[in-house]
Amino acid sequence: MRRLRFLPRLGLRARITIAFAVGALLMSAVLAGAALGFARQNLLDQRESSATARTYQNAQTVNRALPAGSGSTDGGDPADVLASLQTPSGSNPVLLVNGRWFPLNPEFGEDVIPASLRDMVRSGQPARMRFDHDGTTQLAVGVPLPAVNGAYFEIVSLGELEQTLESISISLLAAALLSTLAGAGVGWWAARRVLRPLRGIGDAATAIATGHFDTRVEASDDPDLAPLAASFNEMAMALEERIERDARFASNVSHELRSPLMTLAASIEVLENQRGDMPDRAKAALDLMVADIERFRQLVEDLLEISRFDAGVMHLDLEEVRVDELVMAAVTTSTDVDVPVDIDADLAGVVVRADKRRLSRVIANLLDNAAKYGHGATRVELRKNGDAVLIAVEDDGPGVTPEDRDLIFLRFNRGTSAGHRRGIDGVGLGLALVAEHIRLHGGAVWVENRTGDQPGARFVIELPTEEAT
């Protein structure tokens, strides 16, 4: 279905609410229109027939009061006759006798009466007509008086009626608005009811996404919802099984790879003990093996750590740690013990909740990264930033281009520039692990330009402090 482009995308709940409101509006508009029309017709009919009846009655009175057949005005003065008539306010009689007009109210004389009505009545035909005068609707009723060669008219104002109809229509409009609102309310409530099971499924999906793989939605006995809940639970179960299988696989791989590595690590140590007795070529080969067994070990370690994240089985051993002590210990046990560490004075004693060994691996990875791609770390900075702690590692290398700044934290990705350089033996897991570990610690990591307008990269870790959490 094509969506009209100028309409904003509305949610299901909004659409159901609007549909109910529009339905209520249409229905109340039709009902109000019909009620108004009916009332109008009824009131007009009533008013017209009562005005007509009175006019006939008054015409008869006039007929009796005036001398019959006479063309003269003797006997009864038409003005006196008119004044003696019983007319309600808003009703203005006009009398025509022998071609002379006698209005009771000078403002409502013969010229107010439409000419066509006058002509029709003078020709001997009783008639009535609605017309507009000075903005108000008037009704004129005329009865011919052949005995006095004239006619009797009454001009009745319908303004009062219009006012009544107007107030009725205002009430009806208000009622229509109210029922529209009520319709919207019912729609909103109904949408909520309908969407509640969907929200339950949404919550379950969120729980699964955050690692609670055993989450299921409650089975429903509603025939419309049961298949949805059932298929969702089936999907969740399949996902959980798959993740468990992956986790088992990672654990198996762990054991299988560690055993040969153990043999290699022990054997290489025996060979190293004999290094002094070896010819130079054997020494060179031994050194290569030592270095690559270490690389192999690190790679297995990193891969297993990553697969633990994927299986959602990563658990941190969190404890309260003084961040300055941790960073100092991490630097002194790393491969780059000489890098200067600047610690902000007000950071003394600031405590973070962290997995000591994993966080030190993070810092070691950043130092390692600086050594491989940034000509070595130039400085480690540690300072407080509001409720958080910033740990920054700066290097002297070419820096990281803005388009690489997110990419380098992905697995097996060393950034476009780093990939072309030779002699770099990283596999591109170090920064991915940094990102995963920091995320699990509730912190953030990013890379920016080195401070002080010097070339180089600055990797920053932000960790929440204990006071903040």
Binding site: M262, A265, S267, T333, R357
Partner: protein
């Protein structure tokens, strides 16, 4: 120093066992091998070793059971070898009576350092006194004897060293890092679970009610202390 110190190495993978034996012998230890739990227990019965190295994943009797069986008859230092450090294996192994653990693959030189730390003897100069008293608790460092209410209780060597370490400054709070360094010889990144499980084991022996310890007290967020 440790020439003649005998290590019983229990490992079912033959190549690992052989490589570790070669490397440990280079470090100056005498190594006896066992490839199953049953064989390890038999060998230990024939002639108790000075240190036992046990791989947790063994066919038949597993490493935990071997550990418990040896603990029943001996206070010898036991080092467990696990495949992974982040599982429950570590705590289970320590609770079965192991003194320390290593994760495969480890460097045999690291293992040697661990063993040397575990074999360190307690002397009265460490504690400053030849006779220490904490209420009903009596510690004689030189003889390696602890009595509660006059009755001798058996501690492993590591439990004993932990107790004496705490006894050097009664009432002072020792951090887990400090205890890890002084008892196990670890630096800043030692595993604090070693201290926690050993304190737990120690309490079951020296406390009348281990659930409500009177002597070995936890100071939340700081560490442990010993009091009368």
């Amino acid at each position: 120093m440790s020439v003649g110190t005998r290590i019983l190495s229990v490992e079912d993978d033959e190549r690992i066992r052989t490589a570790v034996k070669l490397a440990l012998e280079d470090e100056g230890w005498a190594v006896e091998e066992a490839d199953t739990g049953e064989e390890a227990l038999n060998a230990f019965q024939r002639q108790p070793a000075d240190v036992v190295l046990i791989d947790i994943m063994l066919p038949g009797i597993d490493g935990f059971d071997v550990c418990r069986a040896i603990r029943r008859v001996s206070d010898v230092p036991i080092v467990m070898v696990t495949a992974r450090a982040d599982t429950h294996d570590v705590v289970a192994g320590l609770e079965a009576g192991a003194d320390d653990y290593l994760t495969k693959p480890f460097a045999p030189k690291e293992l040697s350092a661990r063993i040397r730390a575990l074999l360190r003897r307690v002397r009265s100069t460490d504690s400053g006194s030849s006779h220490l008293r904490f209420g009903d608790l009596e510690i004689i460092p030189d003889e390696g004897v602890v009595r509660r209410g006059g009755e001798e209780i058996h501690l492993t060597k590591t439990e004993f060293r932990l107790l004496v370490e705490l006894a050097t400054s009664p009432g002072r709070v020792f951090s887990r890092e400090g205890l890890l360094e002084r008892v196990w010889g670890y630096g800043y990144f030692g595993d604090g679970r070693l201290v926690d499980v050993h304190v737990r084991r120690l309490r079951t022996k020296v406390e009348a009610d281990p659930a409500n310890p009177r002597h070995v007290v936890t100071v939340r967020g700081l560490g442990y202390k010993l009091q009368a």
